[in-house]
Symmetry: C2
Subunit: 209 residues, 2 copies
């Protein structure tokens, strides 16, 4: 849709919003007109929050998670187990796992996965700093949990890390794949159902949860 704006300021704001993923021209206009109906101080707060976010946010020096401090609150928490490191693709995956409240180790955020199609190689990710952490003489790391997506890219990245660690005495695990709790077997895909039978767990273990 071409739009005939009565104001350059309006047009610029709509164009800025329309650059965001999943926001088209019409939605952008709706959002901007909404902002114009809000109190001046609320809109100022919105704009300033964006400016502050980009200027002040950091990546944790240890795990690369987004953080307000040089070392994030997970890595610096003495109650977290630094011997277990969960490897995830991005910040959102950390949030998802944290939400379960079932994980007490630490993380390593790769910042993506290896994708030859998109031109993303190991050097574009934080794989080297992961290897440095593990091979450092002061390393306490005993287990890494691979929690990458079950896609070709995820498998490639898993295998790359696995191969790089083949000489090192460290436990490498992956998160369990299986039928989601509450799901009917008849609607599950064959691959997942097959995996859930191969990786079956003792009935007692299940009862404890």
């Amino acid at each position: 849709m071409s739009m005939d704006f009565s104001s350059k300021l309006l047009e610029q704001a709509v164009n800025e919003f329309a650059k965001l993923p999943g926001i088209g021209g019409k939605t952008a206009l709706r959002l901007v007109l909404h902002l114009l109906r809000q109190d001046a101080q609320d809109v100022e707060h919105f704009g300033n929050t964006i400016l502050k976010l980009k200027k002040e946010i950091k990546h944790c020096n240890i795990c690369h998670n987004l953080s307000d401090t040089e070392v994030c609150h997970i890595c610096s928490n003495p109650r977290r187990d630094p011997s277990t490191v969960c490897i995830v693709e991005n910040v959102r995956d950390v949030m998802s796992i944290e939400n379960t409240q079932q994980y007490h180790g630490v993380y390593h955020v790769l910042g993506g996965i290896i994708s030859p199609m998109e031109g993303i190689g190991p050097s574009d990710l934080t794989i080297n700093t992961l290897l440095d952490k593990i091979t450092s003489p002061s390393s306490e790391i005993k287990e890494i949990i691979l929690a990458l997506p079950t896609t070709m890219e995820g498998d490639t990245t898993n295998f790359y890390i696995f191969r790089k660690l083949s000489d090192i005495n460290i436990k490498i695990t992956t998160i369990a794949r299986g039928i989601a709790i509450g799901d009917d077997l008849e609607y599950a895909d064959e691959l997942t159902l097959g995996r859930s039978i191969i990786n079956r767990t003792e009935f007692e273990t299940t009862l404890k949860n």
Copy 2:
């Protein structure tokens, strides 16, 4: 979804985006993470555009359309006909009509329509300034076109304006309602089809378009 943020800055930015209409928590997070991947100067431009928009944008003194100047570029355009005023609910309706390139008069933006349910009365809208414009001794206005929605609220507003102008010698019209060009008659609602027969136009007129 409750979210466990690793950063207060991130959380604040997500909360700000989630205040926008139609943007939930997950979408807000996606938008903020997108911004974090952009160049610092692009994000700064985004934030500053929002701040500038709210501080500098104006409403046209004459028609109340959004404008960068005291009088908008439509009202100040000598090629527009000031004797015809199209009454619309909001700024978006001005843009829709301007896009057709078929209208050469001016506008009057009400800023809403009368809605007792939402507590919006005539005094919340720019109806008084419309009446002042029309009744002013220097007024050139000969026709007003009502282009409000065909809802109960739209009809109420139309009738309110119509009644207020009953003593004044001015032509009052409404935009044509009918079957959309290209639409099949069999799928049209009865009310619209009925109206399109009552308001039928001369075949010659149709040919000219």
